[in-house]
Structure formats: C-alpha cells, structure tokens
Assembly symmetry: C2
Homo-oligomer: 334 residues x 2
C-alpha cells in the first residue's frame, strides 16, 4: 500500500476524479464513524457504480452498520489491503475514521466530500461544498462516467440526500438536490418507505427516552437557545444508545425562536458528544470549532470532555458569545 503525503493534497475536478476512478481496479471505500445515511449511501452508491464498470470494491465502516440500512448496505467484495486504492467518502477529517484511523488515515488516496471544513488529509480531494450531501458528488461522478444506475444505487443515493437534508427541509438543499431526487423516482426506490425507516421508526424505548429528555430540557438566552441532555443514566434506564439517539438533535431545532439547538449526549464517564443545530445568523460550524469540533453552517458537532455541568457551561458560553456577536446591541444574554 502506498503511503500518502498528507502535507500535499491535490484538489481534483469532476473529470479528474472520474479518470482516477477508472484508472484503478481494486478499491476500499471508507466511511466515517457514527455512520449516517450520507456516508453509507455515498459509499454504497460508489461501490455499486464501480462494480458496474468491472472494478472490485469493499466498503469498510469503522462501526457496525445499523440494520436499518440493510436495504442497500449489502455485503461487498473483499479487497486485499495490499493492492487497494483507498477512497474515503463524506469523511471531513481523518479523525472521523474512528477505529480505522490507525490503519488508513495516512493512506487515503482520494477523498470525496462536501464539507467545507475538510482538512485535506487525503492525497487527492474532490470537494463540492455546495452539495447538500456527499452523495450529490457521487451522483455527479456516476453521471459523468455514464455508469448505469440501478434500483439499489438509486436507493442509496436517495437515502443520503434525504438524511443529510432533514428530508429536503434544511438550508443546504438546492435546486440540484431536488432535480437529483426527481431523477431517482424513475427507479423503484419506494422513497416513502425509505423515509419511514429513516425518520419515522421511533422505538418504544426511544419514546421513553424522549419523554425524559423533554422533561429535562432547558431554555437559555431569551429562549434563543434550547438545550437537551441525554445522560448515561437515561440511556441505561431506557436501553437506548448510539445511533438510536440520532433523532434527538432534530428536536433541539424545532422550537419557536430558537437560534441554537444544543444536544449534549453522554458518551463516557467524563465525555459528551455535543450536537449543534443553528439558524442564521448563527454558524454551527464556527461555534463547534471553538469546542474542538466542526461540521456545516446549520449542523455541527464536537466531543467535549468534562462533567455534565462543565460541558454544558462550555457549550453555553460558546453559544452565548456567538449570540452576542450576532445580536450586538440587542439584549441576548440571559
């Protein structure tokens, strides 16, 4: 396996990326940790497309892929690590490779991404920061290479688009996102069933956890900030954890007048995952950067160490600063 020089990252055009994909024969496609619909949908769509043109490819996810993605996340080829070309999709930072970081972080030859915050850790980077989902890049590549799309590829791409946009709800959606979605309806994707699986399959235990979370919810800064907490105790009591908690952050952005929806999830004794959802003029990515994380303008995250009270204080301080900068002269402090 070739060692990549992380100091020099080559930005590729769509044409160059297509040429790169046609040139090699054996691919390992990496997703990010805490896999979501976009990283998985993009990885599998790329896998199916590469298969279509006779390439071998293996999708490797740092964690067990949640069952709900089974309708497109099937068993892929096995590709020997010795002569594989490593591609990462939707992975903005090599740290997000999680358990795969040690083995692959410095060997990624191509990264296909849509995060403006991409740290350019890969040897080659195809980045379209206007894309609502990394899967838009994959769709463009497939179209450019004139590779056949089949039903399962269409399902993977649709899933990625829907999950990264709150089902076409958020500010990252463009005319192009809808045009791609429209074209996927030509295939047998059963979009409403995909959306049911992605958005409307709350388990009874998650319902119990949500009730606890809502009971403990806090408003701050003239109700401009809504803060939800998911403690380890709540997770133990209800048996809800990991990717099952994905939907909680969505609740945090749904309150009237709220500019910053914060979810603080306990991941370890002294560690919390902070998820931030913002509305303009707030920039979630900028706020999370202060906490050592990153992401998009309207949705970002960070992992923060400390006690619950310490982490909450840190996050609220960062949100307060952003509110004060954005609403200078108006009363935004508590």
């Amino acid at each position: 396996m070739k060692k990549t020089d992380t100091a020099t990252c080559q930005r590729l055009t769509l044409r160059q990326t297509a040429r790169f994909l046609k040139k090699h024969d054996n691919y390992i496609i990496l997703t990010h940790a805490s896999p979501d619909g976009d990283t998985l949908g993009s990885a599998y769509a790329l896998y199916y497309a590469l298969n279509e043109i006779g390439k071998a490819a293996e999708v490797i996810c740092p964690e067990i892929i949640p069952q709900k993605y089974d309708y497109f996340a099937r068993k892929t080829d096995y590709v020997s690590r010795d002569n594989a070309t490593i591609v990462a999709v939707d992975v903005a930072d090599s740290n997000l490779l999680g358990a795969l970081k040690d083995e692959f972080a410095d060997k990624v030859e191509l990264c296909i991404d849509h995060h403006i915050s991409n740290t350019q850790y890969a040897k080659n980077l195809y980045l379209d920061s206007d894309a609502a989902a990394a899967a838009e890049c994959i769709y463009d590549l497939i179209a450019y290479m004139r590779v056949n799309i089949n039903d399962i590829t269409a399902k993977a791409i649709y899933t990625a688009l829907a999950t990264d946009t709150g089902c076409f709800k958020y500010s990252n959606v463009t005319e192009k996102t809808h045009r791609i979605a429209a074209s996927l309806y030509e295939f047998n994707i059963d979009a409403s069933e995909i959306n049911r699986l992605m958005f409307d399959t709350k388990s009874k235990k998650l319902l119990e956890l949500e009730k606890m979370v809502l009971e403990a919810a806090e408003f701050h800064f003239d109700d401009k900030c809504f803060l939800l907490t998911v403690t380890a105790q709540m997770q133990e009591k209800t048996g809800c954890s990991g990717t099952e908690l994905e939907g909680i952050a969505v609740i945090s952005r749904s309150l009237e007048g709220v500019k910053a929806g914060v979810t603080v999830k306990q991941t370890d004794d002294n560690e919390f995952k902070v998820s931030l959802r913002t509305y303009p003029p707030l920039d979630a990515s900028a706020i999370c950067k202060k906490l050592g994380g990153g992401g998009h303008k309207a949705a970002a995250g960070a992992s923060v160490k400390g006690s619950l009270d310490e982490v909450k204080a840190k996050v609220l301080e960062a949100v307060k600063e952003a509110l004060e900068e954005s609403y200078a002269g108006t009363s935004s402090a508590e």
Copy 2:
C-alpha cells in the same frame, strides 16, 4: 350569481380549465376550513397568477388565516359577490367550506382539487388525484397558461407542496413533485425558512402539551396502532388549540411498527376530530369513511360525536377491522 346544478359536474381537462380561467374576469377563490398550507398556497398562487393576466380575484377563507402564512397570504382584491365566478381549491366536499358553506356551496363554478374523494359538488371540476398537493394542479395551470411566476407565487406553491407531503417525505410525492420544487428554487423563496415556519416553530406551550399527550399515549393491537389523545383539559391547561395542534398527528405516525397513527382531538363537549395516518396496506381514507369522514390513502380524518371513551372505541374498532382485513390469518387483534 348563477346557481350551480350540483347534480351535474363537468370534468375539465387542463386546457379547458385554463380556458375557463381566461374567460372570466372577477374571481372569488375559496379555501377549505381548518386552512392548511395546500389550500392557502393554492388559493394565493392562483390569485397571483390571475392578477398577472389582469383578472381581479379575492381569496376567502372560512377562518382567520394563521399568521405564519403572512409571507404569501397578503390582502387580495375585493370582488363583488354579484358578478363573481366562484372557484374552490383543495376543497373535496362542500361541507369543508365550513362557515362559507351556506353562502357558496351551491355556487362553486370551478373546483381545482387532488382528492380522489372529491364529491363533485362544483359545476366544473379539474381533478388530478395523482398530484401530491392541489398546488401541483395550480402549477400546471400556470405553466399551461404561460403566466409569469414571481417570488411570492413560488413561495405559495412551495409551501403547499412541502406541507402536504411532510416536506417530501410521504407516499404522495412523485418525480413531478420534486421537479416542481426544483424549479421553484430558481426564485427567491428561502425554502429552509419556509420549512422552519411550517415545521419547526413549536411554541413552549405546544411543547408542554406534547409532553402531556405523550404521557397519555396508548399502543393497541400488537403495537400496530398508536393512539394520541388531546383533551379539552390539556388544551385549556396549556393554551394550545386549533391549528396549533396540527403537528400532533405527525407524531402518531412516527413509531416503529405502527401501521395506524390515531390522534383524537376534543373540539367540543361531545365531539372529537379524529386524524388518521396510515402505512400500507392500511387505507386511512377507507377507515375514516366508516367514521363519516374522508381524505387520502395515507392521511384522512373525521369528526366523531360522543364521549372520549366512545369515540376512542369507535375509532379503534374501525382500525381493528382494517387490520384484520389486511392481516387476515396473522394475529393482529389485541
């Protein structure tokens, strides 16, 4: 004003409907009671389009239009009742005209609708039951007549599409729905702000009510039915009522394995509004028909008289029958 013979309803083609709209000069456009994004968005889009081609038009809603629609629901022309041509949009049944029924029910000269259950009460009917929203019909008419769309018309149509599809989530969405949405992004619609207003502006008091509703939630029939109750007491205690309660029905369809999500809202001492959300093979429209209501396959409603217990029993019986028909041979009864 001409009297319409309700016994004969003429089905019009798109071309005939466009010709009808070009022929007259003064329109009154009616929406249904409990106005939603589709009836309002369709009515206002039609109003703006008619204005564009030099016609006078007045939008009349049987109830006060909720403030959240202010961004497109502006003051319209005043049109004298004496020489007006009456058009109803998204109104499947003249009973749905509510307070306007007595004055207008037998005078509707054109109904533009997408409900398969349309009762053909109007003299002329343009019905596209494949349309996800009545606004798709309006969009087609505007395109056919080659009338200019401007930003506010685009906002009205986008609102209608988004609200009638759960933001492009449900089974009524087609390739065409996404193609129309894409074309509306060419205008200055700020779709994410519209979606925030429509879906993510839960008030603090609604949050309180939701907590109560979730506490009282019931599962029935092997968890295939999830039932939410909104009593008059809950509404009084939280100060939440009317169209503020719209979002509750959405919760009822979000639980894993649930085929029928039922919301029973108290509207009077001895009367309840039942909202039903179903997944295949259940047909919400068929179930609600048994309760004296109607609607679409995946979303329907009915107004049912009786005590809370009586109404719940009636609804559960109807759901049970449907489940037994659909899952004959399997154990679906409680």
